[in-house]
């Protein structure tokens, strides 16, 4: 009798346990956690590479990072990262950002052997309690933002609106708002003159995470009327899909 009940119990438990979902383990060795990165710096002399634009990197970065934007990696690595054995950790501004991964691929193609991606990017580094540094901090300023459905009205209302698309050349070519001028963020610090200071300027990025800093930088540099495009082109596409 007891044996029968025990058998029944085992069967029930087996059925339950077999239904339990198991989480897949992350096996990609290229991703490292902030604590592992800190050890790599100490033990292997690893360097961080901030793959964002120059303005962003100088505003805030992991201490001692090299500012090499994704788009410039092939050129700048020739002078800044001559040793292909050098331990390099790439990162970008969020866990949503793909730039670190893209730079990692470029580095791999170029023959770098000891390369890693900081899992979760800069926010993960901050969350882990590590410090960051600012070389040329951009003073934050109040910035007005508009959502995609307000764009038409804005173009009507703001005469001479300068639509500044700060995404990479490739993304711009793949699709952009009519009349938008492409000045990729990694080149922006050298091309301020191309932006009319007395015209209203609408700043558009990929996902709404980079435009705010650019808006602040423009305001600090004398551009009077700066507007931010909420959520960037990604949000616009999502909204259009939803109809």
């Amino acid at each position: 009798m007891v044996l029968r009940l025990l058998t029944a119990l085992i069967v029930v438990l087996t059925v339950f346990l077999s239904c339990t979902a198991t989480l897949p383990q992350k096996t990609d060795e290229s991703y490292i956690e902030p604590a592992q990165a800190a050890v790599l710096i100490k033990e292997k002399g690893a360097v961080f590479v901030d793959t964002m634009g120059y303005l962003e990197c100088m505003d805030h970065r992991i201490p001692g990072s090299l500012c090499i934007a994704l788009e410039e990696f092939e050129i700048k690595s020739q002078t800044s990262l001559k040793d292909k054995e050098q331990h390099i950790i790439f990162y970008c501004e969020s866990d949503e950002c793909l730039r670190a991964g893209q730079t990692y691929k470029k580095a791999k193609t170029l023959g770098y052997k000891n390369i890693y991606i900081l899992n979760g990017g800069l926010p993960a580094w901050k969350r882990a309690g590590y410090e960051i540094e600012s070389q040329q901090r951009i003073k934050r300023a109040p910035v007005v933002s508009i959502k995609p459905h307000m764009l038409k009205n804005l173009i009507k209302e703001k005469k001479g609106l300068f639509i500044l698309d700060i995404r990479s050349e490739d993304l711009y070519k793949a699709g952009h708002i009519d009349g938008a001028v492409n000045i990729p963020l990694y080149t922006l610090h050298n091309r301020l003159k191309e932006i009319p200071k007395n015209n209203p300027v609408l700043v558009i990025d990929e996902n709404g995470k980079r435009s705010f800093l650019v808006c602040c930088w423009l305001i600090n540099n004398g551009v009077k009327d700066v507007i931010r495009f909420y959520g960037g082109m990604k949000y616009k596409e999502i909204q259009e899909r939803k109809g």
């Binding site: 058998t7 029944a8 934050r140 960037g232």
Partner: protein, 618 residues
């Protein structure tokens, strides 16, 4: 060289001279404002909230004044967390710090002139946030308008998004949609379930509770917020307006469009669904009230009758068994040993397969459905997690429902074939009434009523155990209860499965009724099977712990004679006993039957206990 430059050189030289002559002990009476002469530092700072801590209270890292005056020692970034530790701690996990690298002074503009907020705190927060986050919709919303009028309860930006702990949910990219929806639903509920606050503002404090009693609310609570309506899905986010406002998303004119965001291709009457009704409110929701009360009465009557029946039966059998044991009496059999070991077929292979499938589908429905019914208790959440979320539970539930519907259709077909074995020809029509009320039918008849009365008399030691034919009255009830229950639970289930399609047949409030019927009928069915059916068939002392006959299909001749005396006599008289004699079931079938049967019994008993625990203590 200008006059100003000369003055600066003279001033700095004086300071150098004073420093050079000093012995380190002498006090140097230099104030920061001697150099930092602007009104901001000289006057405004003293009147600010930080005015009493002095310059070095924050700029403590300036160790050498002579190096500072020649700009060789600059103050580093201020750590506000030194004093505002708690705020600093939560801020370090906020969106503004992690993703935008904001520092305190990026929101608290002009930190040297910061003064205690004179105006209403909520208004100040709204004004500060909207410097960057322009949101006309919020300003026009019910929340925004009330805040601006000085309402201290209405939601300002920080009430939903946090003040220093703004979450890292960037809704524009929908990256953390699940977390964001859970967080914001919780936030809405926390205020709208606050009785005092809602009463103060003339709003119902029970809306949240009523919402949580609906399918949306239950599934949302279990952690499936991506595909079920949370607060903001119907009421929107920043532009929440009162129902009466023509632009309100929940205004009757806009409601169909609102529902269509999730429920595509619906009939306009779909929007008549009540999102958070109080089905106990007879005046506002009479039909929901009647549905609920009817189901409660049905449950009470059924269980009052059957649990009493079960209890009396158990007493009688147990007492009888005890008496026989005490007196050392063994029941005598009229058969020889050879006849005794002869197996008699009771259930055909079809019957047994159908019952196994019925058990699988029934348990599947119970395991996947009850966690939704009792969503707020811990075991429900554990079960839902084991199944991989309410979404998966829903898929399994529908799969089990398909099996059950299939079985129902097969049973219907078999009923028709039983009544009309050779089709609907004229010859067969004559006998169908006889078959319907005959001994092999599950249709109740007069004899059942007589047997029931005899059984009650037997319970009270006032008569013999009644003689039964093939089906007892409780077996007929078991079958017919499930059969008729299928119309309620199946009908309501199909309606809730495809509400969009159903809206072309009936209005949205029928879904509310369907939810009540489905839920309460499920409770009735589960508890009936797990208590009454389990006892009648397995747990009765003469069969305890399990009667495997529904899996093995046969029993001993003696058992037929003892429990189905009329059937035995009838079969003998009709010379049909021979055709029912079969071989003893094999070992494999017995082991499999035991495993399956005990597992089912155990699950059923566990479920009974947790349902009863939830009902009384959950």
């Amino acid at each position: 060289m200008t006059e100003k430059n000369w003055f600066e050189i003279l001033f700095l030289s004086t300071i150098f001279f004073m420093l050079a002559c000093g012995d380190g002990q002498a006090e140097i009476k230099i104030n920061c404002v001697d150099c930092h002469t602007s009104a901001k530092f000289k006057t405004a700072y003293k009147q600010s909230v930080h005015g009493n801590i002095g310059c070095k209270g924050c700029h403590e890292d300036i160790k050498s004044l002579d190096r500072h005056v020649i700009k060789k020692e600059k103050p580093s970034l201020i750590s506000c967390g030194k004093c505002h530790g708690e705020i600093d701690k939560v801020y370090k996990n906020s969106f503004h710090y992690l993703y935008e690298d904001f520092r305190c002074y990026d929101c608290h503009y002009e930190i040297h002139e910061l003064k205690p907020e004179k105006e209403h705190f909520k208004i100040a927060v709204a004004k500060n946030c909207t410097k960057c986050h322009t949101n006309e919709e919020y300003a026009l919303s019910g929340h925004g308008a009330a805040v601006m009028k000085g309402n201290k309860d209405s939601a300002t930006c920080s009430d939903c998004h946090g003040l220093h702990d703004t979450k890292a949910y960037h809704t524009s990219t929908e990256l953390y949609s699940l977390e964001a929806r859970e967080f914001y639903n919780r936030t809405c509920k926390s205020c709208h379930s606050n009785k005092e606050m809602m009463n103060r503002n003339g709003l119902s404090p029970d809306t949240v509770r009523y919402y949580e009693e609906t399918y949306h609310g239950k599934v949302q609570d279990l952690g499936y917020p991506t595909s079920v309506a949370g607060c903001a899905d119907c009421h929107t986010t920043h532009n929440i307006l009162a129902k009466e406002h023509p632009d309100s998303a929940v205004n009757p004119k806009n409601l169909t469009k609102n529902c269509e965001k999730c429920h595509h291709r619906i009939h306009p009457r779909f929007a008549e669904y009540k999102a958070h009704p109080d089905f106990k409110d007879r005046k506002r929701y009479p039909l929901l009230y009647i549905s609920f009360v009817s189901m409660v009465v049905l449950l009470l009557v059924t269980f009052a009758f059957y649990w009493t029946h079960t209890l009396l039966w158990w007493r009688k059998v147990y007492w009888e068994k005890h008496r026989l044991e005490q007196l050392g009496i063994k029941l005598e059999s009229p058969f020889t040993h050879e006849e005794n070991i002869q197996e008699i077929r009771r259930f055909s292979l079809k019957d047994r397969i159908m019952h196994v499938l019925l058990i699988i589908s029934f348990f599947g429905l119970v395991i996947t459905g009850f966690p939704i019914k009792y969503h707020s208790v811990p075991w429900a959440k554990v079960l839902i997690n084991v199944m991989g979320g309410a979404h998966n539970a829903g898929i399994y539930h529908r799969f089990a429902a398909i099996i059950l519907i299939g079985l129902f259709l097969v049973a219907m077909y078999r009923c028709i074939r039983f009544l009309f074995p050779k089709g609907f020809g004229k010859k067969d029509r004559k006998g169908w009434l006889d078959r319907l009320f005959g001994p092999d039918s599950l249709m109740p008849n007069k004899q059942d009523w007589q047997q029931f009365k005899a059984m009650v008399r037997w319970f009270f030691n006032k008569g013999e155990y009644p003689k039964f034919d093939r089906w007892t009255y409780w077996e007929k009830f078991d079958f017919l209860a499930v059969f008729w229950g299928m119309f309620i639970i199946g009908g309501s289930g199909i309606t809730l499965w495809a509400p969009e399609l159903a809206s072309y047949v009936y209005p949205g409030w029928v879904f509310n009724i369907a939810s009540i019927l489905h839920s309460e009928e499920a409770l009735l069915a589960a508890l009936f099977i797990f208590t009454v059916h389990f006892f009648n068939t397995h747990l009765i002392p003469t069969k305890f712990p399990m009667d495997p006959i529904i899996f093995t299909g046969s029993y001993k001749l003696e058992e037929l004679w003892r429990s189905r005396t009329l059937e035995y006599e009838r079969l003998k008289e009709e010379n049909r006993l021979e055709e029912l004699k079969i071989k003893h079931p094999g070992l494999v079938l017995k082991i499999v039957s035991s495993m399956f049967g005990y597992t089912s019994l155990l699950i059923g008993i566990i479920f009974t206990l947790i349902i009863l625990w939830t009902f009384f203590f959950g």
